[in-house]
Symmetry: C2
Subunit: 164 residues, 2 copies
């Protein structure tokens, strides 16, 4: 199974593809899509969609996992993130991929075994997966790798017939 993990943000969208399963995940790809802040929202969504479609075409994931949106105090940012998320979900759905959402605590449990782990704990676990060439800029892509890994771990739990 190849899972596309996406961390949608306002300015930066983390994208990762993992294969394998929850106990032996393999990092296939990760990147961070950034859009020009000076452009209008429509142009930014356009760029985002184009780049995301390219990743899907090249990496051929089987399904998609995305972190569920949490309420935030900064409503303006939240609206921007929600708009980017809407565009991302449309692109993914049109590519025929199912989308599973995971809450931040679910992602933390899947990655570190503990629902209140911090960014440092997460990085420590995820760092092992990442090829040396990717490590310099890993921070942006970490949440995307984490949610993809969460989906691999859940798939193994949900479908015990799958070889692991």
């Amino acid at each position: 199974m190849r899972v596309l993990g996406i961390d949608p943000g306002y300015d930066r969208i983390g994208v990762a593809v993992l294969s394998g399963n929850g106990s032996a995940p393999v990092h296939m790809y990760s990147s961070c899509i950034t859009t020009d802040k000076k452009l209008a929202l429509t142009e930014r969504l356009n760029t985002l969609a184009k780049e995301l479609r390219e990743v899907i075409a090249a990496q051929k994931p089987d399904c998609c996992a995305i972190e569920s949106l949490y309420f935030t105090k900064n409503q303006k940012t939240a609206m921007g993130v929600a708009a980017a998320r809407g565009a991302v979900m449309l692109v993914v759905a049109e590519a025929g991929l199912s989308v599973t959402e995971y809450t931040p605590p679910q992602v933390k449990v899947a990655v570190t075994g503990y629902g209140k782990s911090d960014k440092k704990d997460m990085a420590k676990m995820l760092w092992r997966l990442i090829p040396a060439s990717k490590k310099a800029n890993f921070d942006d892509e970490m949440d995307a790798v984490a949610v993809a890994l969460t989906h691999l771990a859940h798939a193994r739990t949900t479908y015990p017939q799958r070889k692991s």
Copy 2:
């Protein structure tokens, strides 16, 4: 000029196309796209995008106007609306249409001449534009017609060389 006006909502998306200008607008098309509440958000965005693309292909608008998103007390609804809005803006941008946003007071001033007019005042003004066949279900599409009309009115102001 043919303006596509869109009122993005969580369950219902009003769509309208007006032509002419601010003093002599002509109703070309309006409808309300609804999506099945039982479906996942991705499927709903998929349906929305498909139907919106059909309207754009059939009506061939030159540009698009959309009401800007206002903060609301119900954050869950706001997130759903923002996601639908992100998908709508992506579809419109990919169709090559420019998007202009108008605040609710701008729409009210353009339609009734008064920034605090209520739904009834708005309906009274817009009702005149609507062909008899559309009147029964007009309520859902009203905000889409209103924002399209706002764009026609502004275009006339902004480009005085345009014949009106």
